[in-house]
């Protein structure tokens, strides 16, 4: 049992196979390309797809940022960052602007990404139609025939029942006017960031053995209706308790057992950057609630 693995763990043959899948995915934006996903030394559902995509594109000069729930400090982000530090020895960072490859679970950074960056998403269920039709043989046909009526009916039923679309994350998008795609379970708050993003977006689903992509500057439209246009979550009168940011995605932190709570930026790097620039939040908000 040798302790030496190839650069970024995967052997070069496997990387080549994954790169071919990535190239195909870029050529057909939003289309799910089957790939021979490997068994990785972390569990399925914990980022094996994202890790394989990252391993396949990583070069020795890349700077890697690893986030989960928007933060570099969450346990799984720490574990996956450690994996690449150990197996690839690449530089890592928590600063969004310094990273060339950003692997993420559930969030898109608040800061606008640039052309030289790649955003790699970890995807649990790549099929946007899966909860409407469990069979892969069926959903592949539906995509091939651009048969997306079922999805529109589902959204319409939401409106008929609740008066609005009751999907808050993994909100389906249409890529370049063709494929309906699951943006991975990011909150729909992040959907507008995907549209015409300068960075390349790659999606890896290890357990389901699928890779898909959005090339830079591609139109990505969240599904909606003319009389019920797509909208994102808002937190009226809420600012980050640490940095005072408004209009960002918030984590709600429970501060006591009497209903006290505070909000702070989900994107921890964005928050730190603001605090470093001298912004301070109103922490009395949550101390008052605590009293």
């Amino acid at each position: 049992m040798s302790g030496h693995y190839n650069f970024a763990y995967l052997d070069e043959q496997t990387k080549r196979m994954i790169r071919r899948a990535i190239l195909k995915a870029i050529a057909i934006p939003g289309y799910q390309v089957p790939f021979a996903s490997r068994e990785m030394p972390m569990p399925y559902g914990w980022g094996t797809g994202g890790v394989q995509v990252t391993a396949a594109i990583l070069g020795a000069n890349d700077v890697l940022k690893m986030i989960d729930q928007g933060s570099d400090d969450t346990t799984n982000a720490v574990a996956l960052r450690g994996f690449f530090e150990k197996t690839a020895g690449v530089a890592t960072t928590t600063r969004t602007e310094d990273a060339t490859v950003i692997q993420t679970r559930h969030r898109i950074p608040e800061m606008t990404l640039q052309e030289h960056q790649v955003l790699v998403y970890q995807v649990p269920i790549p099929e946007p139609l899966r909860f409407l039709e469990p069979r892969e043989t069926e959903t592949r046909k539906m995509h091939a025939m651009e048969e997306y009526g079922l999805m529109h009916v589902k959204l319409y039923e939401d409106i008929a029942t609740h008066g609005h679309i009751a999907t808050t994350y993994a909100y389906p998008v249409k890529v370049m006017g063709r494929y309906v795609m699951d943006p991975s379970p990011t909150p729909k708050f992040d959907n507008p960031k995907m549209d015409r993003m300068a960075a390349l977006q790659l999606y890896g689903a290890g357990r389901e053995k699928r890779i898909y992509a959005i090339p830079p500057f591609t139109d990505v439209v969240s599904l909606d209706f003319e009389d019920h246009p797509f909208d994102v979550q808002e937190w009226p009168d809420t600012a980050c308790a640490l940095c005072g940011a408004e209009g960002v995605y918030f984590d709600e932190v429970i501060t006591d057992d009497h209903g006290g709570r505070m909000f702070c930026c989900s994107d921890s790097d964005y928050c730190e950057m603001r605090r470093a620039a001298g912004h301070i939040g109103d922490q009395t908000r949550f101390t008052e609630a605590a009293e």
Binding site: T75, R105, R107, Y169
Partner: protein
């Protein structure tokens, strides 16, 4: 202050150290050796080798030790190791007909060439706790035959085959490349070979449940254990450069041939049909369950009615792998607070809307009174 998930790195390190300590337990108790595990927990080792798809008793024993007896975790360790190994080819098909039989039973014939060989088994034992075992009592040597009869033990299916009562062996092209679901993405419909590969790696408990369901009417057909045999077989590899087969060594396997009566259909005349199961080591429960599920999955080929999950190729093959299943189930432990926050927001909004409706209804009622 806000510390919920900060400092993850040190916490993870400490958690792993604590686990290593708990695994070792009381230091005054001798540590398990791999040899002890391989010899005395042979069923655990066999299961880990089968579902880990790697025949190596020592590594499997190490995995069992490292996982403190959590067999799915042990299988995971073996799989993650296996994936890094180079592949230089596929062996020749093993000949279970020429197995050095350690155990061989048939439920369909009272006696047949080669006889019924009970061999080492739990069967027919009284499941009473053996307190002698706790007291580390002496274990007597097994009784031995003076002369081992040198007669062949042909498979029971072969006997039926001579009469034309059972469907012939599945045809396969010896020179076709062997499909490998760990190297190619799965595509439906899958070949029977690929289905069997999936079942061989599949979770024992899952297959047991699915096989059981097929016996209880969720799928049709009453199966007989035509034959179960367990013992060592030779593994051979055809070396292109040399032009002949090279023996690689011997492995122990359990094979099950289920025989199911079949009343015939538009496609196939009345006859007995086969379900096939094979595992590394000794694991009859798994081999039998696998054979039941294999048979149920063949409904389309035989022109049977589709009626139950055990027949559903996509359902079975997508959910049989315990490493995939446990990963995805347990990933719910990972933080999900971004999505939860989005749902929280939605539920609050919907509650507020529902409350507003109720108030409105109440005021209408008051006005009407």
């Amino acid at each position: 202050m806000y510390v919920a998930v900060k400092g993850g790195e040190r916490a993870i390190e400490n958690a792993h150290r604590l686990f290593a300590d708990r695994r070792r337990g009381d230091r005054s108790v001798p540590s398990l050796t791999l040899e002890k595990i391989a010899q005395q927990l042979a069923f655990s080792v066999d299961r880990v080798m089968s579902e880990g798809s790697l025949y190596d008793r020592e590594l499997a024993a190490l995995a069992v030790k490292q996982s403190a007896g959590d067999l799915i975790e042990a299988i995971f360790l073996i799989r993650a190791y296996r994936t890094t190994l180079p592949r230089f080819g596929a062996s020749r098909p093993i000949e279970t007909g020429s197995m050095l039989v350690e155990r061989r039973i048939s439920a369909t014939y009272k006696d047949m060439p080669g006889g019924q060989v009970l061999g080492p088994t739990f069967d027919y034992s009284h499941r009473l706790l053996d307190f002698m075992l706790a007291a580390e009592g002496e274990v007597p040597e097994p009784s031995r035959l003076e002369n081992i009869p040198d007669q062949p033990t042909p498979g029971v299916a072969t006997i039926l085959d001579r009469e034309g009562l059972i469907e012939p062996h599945a045809e396969f092209d010896e020179h076709a490349p062997v499909e490998d679901l760990t190297r190619e993405p799965l595509d439906f419909p899958a070949s029977r070979a690929l289905r069997l590969q999936n079942l061989a790696r599949g979770d024992e408990g899952f297959l047991l449940g699915m096989g059981y369901s097929s016996q209880r009417g969720y799928a049709r057909g009453h199966a007989f254990a035509g034959e179960i045999r367990m013992g060592e077989v030779e593994v051979e590899f055809f070396a292109e450069e040399l032009g002949f087969d090279i023996p690689l060594g011997r492995i122990k396997v359990t094979e099950c041939q289920m025989v199911t009566q079949f009343k015939g259909s538009a496609k196939v005349p009345p006859q007995f049909t086969r379900g096939y199961g094979l595992t590394f080591g000794q694991n009859e429960r798994k081999a039998m369950s696998m054979a039941l599920v294999d048979r149920a999955l063949r409904w389309e080929e035989l022109g049977e009615e589709f009626m139950a999950p055990a027949q559903d190729e996509e359902f079975i093959m997508s959910h049989s792998d315990n490493i995939q299943a446990t990963g995805f189930v347990e990933h719910l432990k990972l933080p999900h607070y971004v999505d939860f926050q989005a749902e929280l927001d939605l539920v609050r909004r919907m509650r507020a809307e529902a409350a507003a409706h109720q108030n409105q209804d109440a005021s209408y009622n008051e006005a009407a009174e």
